[in-house]
C-alpha cells in the first residue's frame, strides 16, 4: 500500500489497473459519506458525523481499462479542517460537495476550492463540484444555474446528485473516472502535460490563516 498515492500501478493486472486517490470535501452534513456509501456499497442510511476521515476503495470498469478509486471521505466538522491537508495530499481528484438546500455549504465549497488551489498546481487534480440532496428540491437554496456557473467559471466538472435516491451518483464518479483516464492517456501521448489548466489558479492566497484563527 506504500505506493498507493495515486501513481498508476504498472502491470498489476493484464488490463491495467490505475489507482487514483479521490477526496470528498465539504462542510458538515452535506452528504459526503452518503455519496461514498452509495457509490461504494450502493447503500443509504443516516450516518453520524464522520470522525477524521473514512477510507474506501472501489474498482470501476471503464470500457477496456479498469480503475481503482481510493476514496478519502473527510469529516466536514471544523475541528478536522486543519488536518485535512493530510488527507488531500497526493490526491488525483476532489469532489467538492455542497447541500443544495444550504447556501452556506455552497460558500464553504468555494472555500474548499481555494484551499485546494493552495495545495495543488493547476491541472494537477480533477475537481468536480457536486450539489447533493436533489431529493429536497422544495427546500432548494442554491439553483442549478448558480452551481453550474460557478463550476464553469473555475473550470470544474459539475453535477447535482441525490445519494438518498441514488440519482447521478455513479454518473458523477464515472465522469471523474473518464476525465482521469483521458488525462492519463494525454500524459502518455504528449510527455509534457501542460496546457489544460483545469484548476484556475486565480490568485495566490498567501499566508491565509487557518480555520479557527478568526
Amino acid at each position: 500500500m506504500a505506493q498507493a498515492n495515486g501513481a498508476p500501478q504498472p502491470g498489476a493486472a493484464p488490463s491495467q489497473l490505475c489507482v487514483f486517490k479521490l477526496v470528498l470535501l465539504g462542510s458538515g452534513s452535506v452528504g459526503k459519506s452518503s455519496l461514498a456509501l452509495r457509490f461504494v456499497k450502493d447503500d443509504f442510511k443516516s450516518i453520524l458525523p464522520t470522525v477524521g476521515c473514512a477510507f474506501f476503495t472501489k474498482v470501476v470498469e471503464m470500457g477496456t481499462a479498469s480503475l481503482k478509486f481510493e476514496i478519502w471521505d473527510t469529516a466536514g466538522q471544523e475541528k478536522y479542517h486543519s488536518v485535512c491537508h493530510l488527507y488531500f495530499r497526493g490526491a488525483n481528484a476532489a469532489l467538492l460537495v455542497y447541500d443544495i438546500t444550504s447556501k452556506d455549504s455552497f460558500g464553504k465549497a468555494q472555500q474548499w476550492l481555494k484551499d485546494l488551489e493552495k495545495e495543488f498546481s493547476p491541472g494537477e487534480v480533477v475537481v468536480m463540484l457536486v450539489g447533493n440532496k436533489t431529493d429536497l428540491g422544495q427546500e432548494r437554496e442554491v439553483t442549478f444555474e448558480d452551481g453550474k456557473e460557478f463550476a464553469e467559471s473555475h473550470n470544474l466538472l459539475f453535477m447535482e446528485t441525490s445519494a438518498k435516491l441514488n440519482h447521478q451518483v455513479t454518473e458523477a464518479f464515472g465522469a471523474i473516472a473518464r476525465e482521469l483516464l483521458q488525462r492519463e492517456e494525454r500524459k502518455e501521448n504528449q510527455p509534457p502535460p501542460r496546457g489544460d489548466a483545469r484548476l484556475a489558479l486565480g490568485q495566490r492566497l498567501a499566508g491565509r490563516a487557518n480555520c479557527c484563527a478568526r
Partner: protein, 551 residues
C-alpha cells in the same frame, strides 16, 4: 470455604468472618445516613427513594410502589408493570426539546450536565438547546466568579434533593445538577470524563490557546459532531454503570489460550510509529498491545483506554477504515495520536491502531491485513463471533454472559473488580459483570439499579467513613457490597434472600470468578515485543499535531 486461604477468595464462605468485617460498619450505621441492614423498610435510604419518586413524572409514580406498602414484593419485578409505564424516557428524548428552563420536560430530567466557557458562553448541555440556556449558564458563571473573587473555589452546592457540582478545568467550567443519589465525588468523576472526552478531540493545549486568544470564542463550532459522543458517555452511567464507577475496563470473556494468541498476534503485527494496538468488540476489550519504544514505561491509563473503547464503539466507525487524530488526555493532554479504526471482516470486531505518525495510514492498513490474516489462521473470528452471540438479550451487540452461568440462585447481577491481578504494575484495572436481565431490562429499572450501585459505592468509598462491607435490604432487592484487598464486589440479590443465604451466594460467586478468572480477565498481559531502546517518540506531538497553528 476451603478455598478461602489462597489468592482470590478471602474466606468468602465464612459467615463469622463476614460478621467480623461487618462490625465497623455497624458503628457507622449509628450515624443514621447508612442504609444497610434494614429490617425496617423505612430506613433513610428508602425515604430518599420515596421523595425522589414525587419528583418524577406521574408515569413513574404508578410503577413504583410506595415504600410503605409491605405486601407488594410479588409484583415488584413484574416486567409488564414497568413496560406499561411510558415514563418520559429520559434517554431517548435528548437534545430535541427547547431547553427553556421553565420547560417542564426539561426540568424533569434527573441530571443535567453543562459545559461552558469561563466567559459564560454555553458549550454543551445534555438536554435542551444551549442557546435557550445562556441565562442559566450566566447564573452559574456568576456563582463561580463570586466565590472566586473571595479567593476561593466553589466545589458543590447541596440544595434539598439536588446536588450541584462544579469543576473548573482550564478555561472550561463543567457543572452537574443532579437529583440522582450519586455522590458529589461520583458526579465530579463524570464531569472529568466529559472533560477528557472534549480534550481527546481538541487537546487541552488548543482549548487553552483558543480562549487565550479570544475569550468569548464559541467552542461549539469545534465540538460540532462530538455532542453525541458526550451524550452516549453520560447515558452509559445509567445504562451500564461499571466502567466509570469502578474506573476499569470490561473484557470480552475469552478462553485464555485464544486471548494469549491474539495478544501475541498484535505484538507481531507492528509498523513504524505504532504505539498501541487494541482489539475490541462492542466497547469491550479483547486484548491490547503496547509498544515499549513509544509508551515507554508508561502504563496506559484505564480512563484513556475506556475513552478509546467508547470512541471506537461509535456508530460513525461502522463503514470503511477511519483515520483520525485523537488525544489520550491522561497520557498526554496536549498531543495527538493518529488512530486507525476498522471493523475486521465486516464483523463487530474492531481493531484500533494508534500511531504517532500522521502519514502512517497505509502502514496501519497493511498492519490490519496482517492482523486479519493472523486471526483467520487462529480461527479467532468464529470464536469471537460466538462470544458476541452468546447473549441472552437478542439485541445486545456486545459480548455478554448470563448471571445464570454462576449457578447461584438468588443472584441477579453483580460487578466484580479484581484487585489482585498478577503483574499488577503493568496491568489494566478490569471488571466483569453479567448482562442485565429481567427485572432490569427496562430503562427505569436499570436506572434504579445503577442508583443503588452508586449509593453503595459512595458508602464504601466515603472519604470520612469508608466501609468495607454493606448488606442492604432495599425494597425490590437485597444488595451486598464488599471491598477487600483482593477485590471490590457489588452484588444484587433477590429480595427474599436471607443474610445467610446472601453469604452463600457470594461464596458461590467468588468461587465461580476464581474458576473463570482466566477467561474473564486479562491476567497475564502481553510482554512488550521490542527491547527498550530509543527515547519516547511521542513527546513532541503538540508541535506537529496540525490543529490550530498560531496566527
Amino acid at each position: 470455604m476451603e478455598a478461602g486461604g489462597d489468592t482470590a477468595a478471602p474466606a468468602p464462605g465464612d459467615s463469622e468472618d463476614l460478621e467480623d468485617t461487618q462490625s465497623p460498619r455497624e458503628e457507622a450505621g449509628d450515624s443514621g445516613g447508612v442504609h444497610e441492614d434494614p429490617p425496617d423498610p423505612r430506613d433513610e435510604g428508602l425515604e430518599e427513594t420515596g421523595s425522589e419518586t414525587k419528583d418524577q413524572p406521574p408515569g413513574l409514580l404508578s410503577a413504583l410502589p410506595q415504600p410503605e406498602a409491605p405486601s407488594c414484593t410479588s409484583q415488584l419485578w413484574d416486567p409488564a408493570a414497568s413496560e406499561n409505564n411510558p415514563l418520559g424516557d429520559p434517554e431517548s428524548g435528548s437534545g430535541g426539546q427547547g431547553g427553556d428552563p421553565s420547560d417542564e420536560d426539561w426540568r424533569s430530567k434527573r441530571k443535567h450536565v453543562f459545559v461552558l466557557s469561563e466567559a459564560g458562553k454555553p458549550i454543551y448541555s445534555r438536554y435542551g438547546s444551549v442557546e435557550a440556556l445562556s441565562t442559566t449558564m450566566g447564573v452559574m458563571t456568576a456563582l463561580v466568579s463570586f466565590v472566586q473573587s473571595a479567593g476561593d473555589a466553589i466545589r458543590a452546592i447541596y440544595a434539598e434533593d439536588h446536588k450541584l457540582v462544579f469543576l473548573q478545568q482550564g478555561p472550561l467550567l463543567l457543572v452537574a445538577v443532579s437529583r440522582t443519589p450519586q455522590s458529589a465525588a461520583q458526579l465530579r468523576g463524570e464531569l472529568l470524563a466529559v472533560h477528557a472526552q472534549i480534550v481527546s478531540t481538541l487537546t487541552r493545549a488548543s482549548v487553552a490557546r483558543i480562549f487565550a486568544r479570544k475569550q468569548n470564542y464559541d467552542l461549539r463550532r469545534l465540538l460540532a459532531g462530538s455532542e453525541r459522543t458526550l451524550d452516549r458517555l453520560l447515558d452509559s452511567v445509567e445504562r451500564d454503570p461499571g466502567a466509570l464507577l469502578l474506573g476499569a475496563v470490561r473484557c470480552v470473556p475469552l478462553a485464555r489460550p485464544l486471548r494469549d494468541a491474539l495478544g501475541a498476534l498484535l505484538r507481531r503485527c507492528t509498523a513504524p510509529g505504532l504505539a498501541l494496538s487494541v482489539l475490541a468488540v462492542g466497547g469491550q476489550l479483547v486484548t491490547a498491545a503496547q509498544e515499549r519504544t513509544v509508551l515507554a514505561e508508561c502504563r496506559l491509563d484505564p480512563a484513556d483506554l475506556q475513552l478509546l473503547l467508547n470512541w471506537v464503539g461509535a456508530p460513525a466507525f461502522a463503514a470503511g477504515e477511519a483515520w483520525a487524530p485523537v488525544c489520550l488526555p491522561r497520557f498526554n493532554p496536549d498531543g495527538f495520536f493518529y488512530a486507525y479504526v476498522a471493523r475486521l471482516d465486516a464483523t463487530p470486531v474492531c481493531l484500533l491502531l494508534l500511531s504517532t505518525d500522521p502519514e502512517a495510514f497505509h502502514d496501519m492498513a497493511t498492519c490490519r491485513r496482517l492482523v486479519e490474516d493472523g486471526m483467520h489462521t487462529l480461527g479467532a473470528m468464529r470464536a469471537l463471533g460466538e462470544a458476541v452471540s452468546f447473549s441472552v438479550v437478542p439485541s445486545a451487540s456486545a459480548p455478554a454472559y448470563s448471571v445464570q452461568a454462576v449457578g447461584a440462585s438468588g443472584l441477579r447481577h453483580f460487578l466484580y473488580k479484581p484487585l489482585d491481578i498478577p503483574d499488577h504494575h503493568r496491568q489494566l484495572p478490569q471488571f466483569t459483570s453479567p448482562e442485565l436481565e429481567a427485572p432490569y431490562s427496562s430503562e427505569e429499572e436499570r436506572q434504579r439499579l445503577s442508583d443503588l450501585y452508586h449509593r453503595l459505592h459512595a458508602r464504601l468509598h466515603s472519604t470520612s467513613r469508608p466501609l468495607r462491607l454493606i448488606y442492604h435490604v432495599a425494597e425490590k432487592e437485597t444488595l451486598l457490597a464488599w471491598v477487600t484487598s483482593k477485590f471490590e464486589l457489588y452484588t444484587c440479590l433477590s429480595p427474599l434472600v436471607t443474610k445467610a443465604g446472601a453469604i452463600l451466594v457470594v461464596t458461590k460467586l467468588l468461587r465461580w470468578v476464581k474458576k473463570e478468572e482466566d477467561r474473564l480477565f486479562i491476567r497475564y498481559p502481553p510482554k512488550y515485543s521490542t527491547p527498550p531502546a530509543a527515547p519516547a517518540a511521542s513527546t513532541d506531538q503538540a508541535s506537529h499535531n496540525g490543529l490550530f497553528p498560531g496566527p
